[in-house]
Symmetry: D2
Subunit: 401 residues, 4 copies
Amino acid sequence: MSKINKVVLAYSGGLDTSAIIPWLKENYDCEVVAFVADVGQGEEELIGIEEKAIASGASSCYIADLKEEMVKDYIYPSLKTGAIYEGKYLLGTSMARPIIAKAQVECALEVGADALCHGCTGKGNDQVRFEGAFAALAPQLTVIAPWREWDLRSREALLDYLAERNIPCTASLEKIYSRDANAWHVSTEGGVLENTWNAPNDLCWVWTTDPQQAPDEAETISVLVEKGEVVAVNDEPMTPYNALNYLNQKGAAHGVGRIDIVENRLVGIKSRGCYETPGGTIMMEALRAVEQLVLDKESFEFRQTIGLKASHLIYDGRWFTPLCQSLLAAANTLAQDVTGEVVIQLYKGQATVTQKRSLNSLYSEEFATFGEDDVYDHSHAGGFIRLYSLASRIRALNNQK
Amino acid sequence: MSKINKVVLAYSGGLDTSAIIPWLKENYDCEVVAFVADVGQGEEELIGIEEKAIASGASSCYIADLKEEMVKDYIYPSLKTGAIYEGKYLLGTSMARPIIAKAQVECALEVGADALCHGCTGKGNDQVRFEGAFAALAPQLTVIAPWREWDLRSREALLDYLAERNIPCTASLEKIYSRDANAWHVSTEGGVLENTWNAPNDLCWVWTTDPQQAPDEAETISVLVEKGEVVAVNDEPMTPYNALNYLNQKGAAHGVGRIDIVENRLVGIKSRGCYETPGGTIMMEALRAVEQLVLDKESFEFRQTIGLKASHLIYDGRWFTPLCQSLLAAANTLAQDVTGEVVIQLYKGQATVTQKRSLNSLYSEEFATFGEDDVYDHSHAGGFIRLYSLASRIRALNNQK
Amino acid sequence: MSKINKVVLAYSGGLDTSAIIPWLKENYDCEVVAFVADVGQGEEELIGIEEKAIASGASSCYIADLKEEMVKDYIYPSLKTGAIYEGKYLLGTSMARPIIAKAQVECALEVGADALCHGCTGKGNDQVRFEGAFAALAPQLTVIAPWREWDLRSREALLDYLAERNIPCTASLEKIYSRDANAWHVSTEGGVLENTWNAPNDLCWVWTTDPQQAPDEAETISVLVEKGEVVAVNDEPMTPYNALNYLNQKGAAHGVGRIDIVENRLVGIKSRGCYETPGGTIMMEALRAVEQLVLDKESFEFRQTIGLKASHLIYDGRWFTPLCQSLLAAANTLAQDVTGEVVIQLYKGQATVTQKRSLNSLYSEEFATFGEDDVYDHSHAGGFIRLYSLASRIRALNNQK
Amino acid sequence: MSKINKVVLAYSGGLDTSAIIPWLKENYDCEVVAFVADVGQGEEELIGIEEKAIASGASSCYIADLKEEMVKDYIYPSLKTGAIYEGKYLLGTSMARPIIAKAQVECALEVGADALCHGCTGKGNDQVRFEGAFAALAPQLTVIAPWREWDLRSREALLDYLAERNIPCTASLEKIYSRDANAWHVSTEGGVLENTWNAPNDLCWVWTTDPQQAPDEAETISVLVEKGEVVAVNDEPMTPYNALNYLNQKGAAHGVGRIDIVENRLVGIKSRGCYETPGGTIMMEALRAVEQLVLDKESFEFRQTIGLKASHLIYDGRWFTPLCQSLLAAANTLAQDVTGEVVIQLYKGQATVTQKRSLNSLYSEEFATFGEDDVYDHSHAGGFIRLYSLASRIRALNNQK
């Protein structure tokens, strides 16, 4: 492998990536550029981050505001597919990785770096998502994954490593849970959750009110959907990120969007995570409700099939592949009719659609009810059923011979 | 068409099938045998039903207790597939139809009938389900569907029809909602629900407490699952029907299992329904939670694919087809590992799995956590990712040429 | 039903539609406009067709040349999906129906007709395809399907019907086979084929040389594919229809493209057909060969899934549905890389790709062979396999406990 | 890693595994047991193989005759799924690997070995298939893959390695093609095939006559299928292996079963292979033809879906997984009706089914033809079509508002 001169690191300001900066310099004898992606992880995570990066030894620090782009170009297209991993997980971490990796690559090309580095561990999914995106976008760049190289194996070791180098660090020795946050969700792993027979405790949840502590009064909000995208909430037009942000606040207050699952990681092991996706849960319910009105039976089933397939591709870090783009195109085509309005009730952990309407609705009071109408004639059903079950009839007659 | 001598009617004791008895006798000049399937619709529906049938003109009335068989041979196999129609509906009415039709056919063969009759309307799914089963099980028997033949078009007309014949009937002129109940669920359609912009009102719900009126204290229950079937609740071994019944009571008290959807009927129109499936919702959550522990990534995805396909087959009345049997066989094979125990919290409309464990669990605290172990070596991940993303890499290198 | 004033009939010039013209006038007391779609069924079918229509009583006759449009906008998009019905049938009749129906509807709107009519029989697929398209494109127009209305039940009856009205007709009393031709294929049904234990005889085949009589010398042709579409043959750029036509001649001479199958019709019965698709078979082989070079494993599988789904939608007359459009969009996205050149050998019934290349090829001699290279490191495989089979390993270890 | 005492090597008698024996002894200081699987690769490959193994340094050599078991328990179940990889490849190498690995594991457990070894290269699929099976069957045993460990990188190096140790070897320095044979197929890779723009030459084909040199007379054979399995050929009952063998001879004589493809390997690269599967091609055609008669539309489509999924699982070495077993169960359920007889014509590279019949046939001359019958009433079609296209109609009416 040829000499690395300059590496761009996906830098979070946390303990791991703080230690990676000096480690890269010492082990690769190269310049380290810190790249910070603002995907809505919270302002407190970004305050003073540039100074922190420089103090750790980075030659420079770039901060990219990706919030609107992430919701508009990654989350909204994913929502149209209906992707939910293993029936529960709304893919919060998964959807953020490709956009971070893409912006990191762009930074690397701009600063003339010859390598990319991330702080993901060797047992997780994120290493695959980052490196999958790198392979698709900048195969010529070398990838460095310190967690698969170094022999630092604990927070204590990392803190010692920084202390030995006089690099200031505010990280605490004890950190019960491992967390990841962005505009869409916050995830919590580790600690008591590592035993699946332990129920999550109060400390496992970050954003959302405990449903049992949530308001005793339900609250309703209205969501306007256009071609499969949320465009307004409570009659207020909003940008994608703002809509998500607003719904996050509303949902979190009512304890909406908590998920506790054991999932199959891409690398062959299972892990348990608690996820909070308050606004995302509301958005998902809103879209699916409009779909109930406008998608015919076969289209609805295909949308579900797309969602199932897309959930794996997105989870598995396959965003920048022809297959993922093909699925997104299919979902986007179906979404052209998904326009309508829903009213959602938030109450103690639940987001329940109570009202829905759409100009594209295939539901018609006239057709659905008891009486005759121009479109549906009761007598049609007889012929329909006869042909619909004809193969069964022939088979049964055969068997009676 | 040849003369009908004896017809077996799927008789419910309600207004429609009460009118069908004299109508059949008058229009087909035949003997009418009433067949009543006890699928757990409730004792009040069965009290005096034989007398009622005879009073309406039936020559005899057979009552078959199908409760245990339905849960064991229809619901449990369906549950293993994970079938949920259009993402929401737990298929309560759909699963009951094949077993009723099968028992009705058996009755017809026993009494030497030459025709079968049902009281389903001409715009609904049930006519297809009944007649699909009839076609597969007794293609030689004639099927009579009065709702597609007669010109009675309202409750008033039916009441008049009975009054003219001096047939006693306790049915009221006004019936706001159309309902169907069995051990698994109760459905409610019509009335205010016909406008999708109306929220369901209190009268729409039959079994379940309004979540807002449900106990302020959460309740936990434990469910034991063996090879994909619920075998004990709160450490008490129970038959399938008893388990369902017990969970129905627990769930209903906490407002669990309400669904309000617009769905695509098989006959091409959409309809809106409110469904209550308290025990079923809990069973579904329990099974899915054990699956999280024991199914690998590809198996889990296939189980979801099976569930999606099965949801349509079951909804569409395709139970007695080779395809449905094939799907059930596939699901049953996967279910051989689905053994474990879960604890579920019931609270104001929600059933949330908080604890789960299984001897077949592929989750291992040891493997999932940070440290090294014998089974998973961090360095493996590098090779894995490289090959996993190799096609992306080659494609990107191509594009750079 | 309100009075019909003017009906546009899909007119072929054959016996059936010739009889339909007077029948419509007599039974509906309306003006009949004959609409002829030229989809490449052959010039002999079109000669004098206008006169024939007028002689039968049509008020006017419109002929639309749809040949290029059909290949470009219906066949090529279908080819990208890889749709083959039930593993064999290249969908020749199915793909022609939507474009004919669409042009017929356009004609009806132009001439101010209030009804549409077709000559399809009541047991076939085509009635569903026509009426499915009509429902999607012009639901306000009445549809008349004489074969489901009249009581004419044989060629003899039709000939008598015309003779009684002094309408000249050259059709013969005996017609052994039922046929349908367009630019893509010719189909043959009926006669000896009605017994599946009869082998097809020489009279069953129309376009193609018997492979046993085909040239003893193989012939090779080269096909250039761009984004999933055939754009040149033997280095000659050609329009879609011209390319198809040219390949039809080449393929037919070598007996390529014969298929003899029993298929499931949409209406619940099975039928047997012999299909000849010489040019189409060559095009299909060419596209699939380029796909072998450029699609990665997951994309290839999804393309196959799309093809399977699309085969049913196209066969079932679902072209003008959101679902079909969604599938076509997915396939078209994948096809963006499907550019390359193939050489195909034609010999006694077979079209065999012998050479293929593409600038987008993911195949690389360097990567595939034995030695080391920059992109693939043997040692990566160890890690890959370990993680790839990790769930199996954990499960097996569990079972040994 | 703990010390290896005894390793069981999947031994072929070829150059690679001959060198592996001394290499294992030198590098692991362990006893080496040679395990030879007779999967029909040919008697010439087995002659003197025990002596050869001993001469190379093996302590003992076990030969297991797996021919019947392979066809019966691996190939026949696969055939019922219809698995064909990437539309062409009949999975000959893939299906042999699990049975070899299973027998090798059984041998290892019997002789008390603590390790397993195979001679697969580091860029191929077979390493994954072997090690996937090992992980599922004997996760406790260590796996040694010399090709990923040693630095021998050419035939020359291997020959030198053996010569240095005075181990006799008849292998030649030059070997143009890499080959693998078993009862089902022979594969050829390498040499001129490495450039996809080269057509295969005569040397690429081993078993089959060049279609252009095949007999000018076609030959027909009859095949009897019972529940998805070939049970007799030309009216002669045969065991699975004997049937395959017989059909291999018949097919090869007529040049049947040649395939030349570029495929996606599991490890992320593409490779090109020429495969000859004469008997398998005939069996596949026979089964599919009976399916045409007995499977209804939805079952046929599901069988195709199963086949697509199974093709990847089998190719990817996933035989011993719950998912694969689930798919096989689904396919086996559908196969219960697949009983019938077909006549197949062999002619210059093609196997064409010309006649087929089945007692379970859903095809009925009576139903398929023009006239009326008891089962199918033309008028049914009107109602069927109306409901079948109702969603399209409603959508179109909406759009006209």
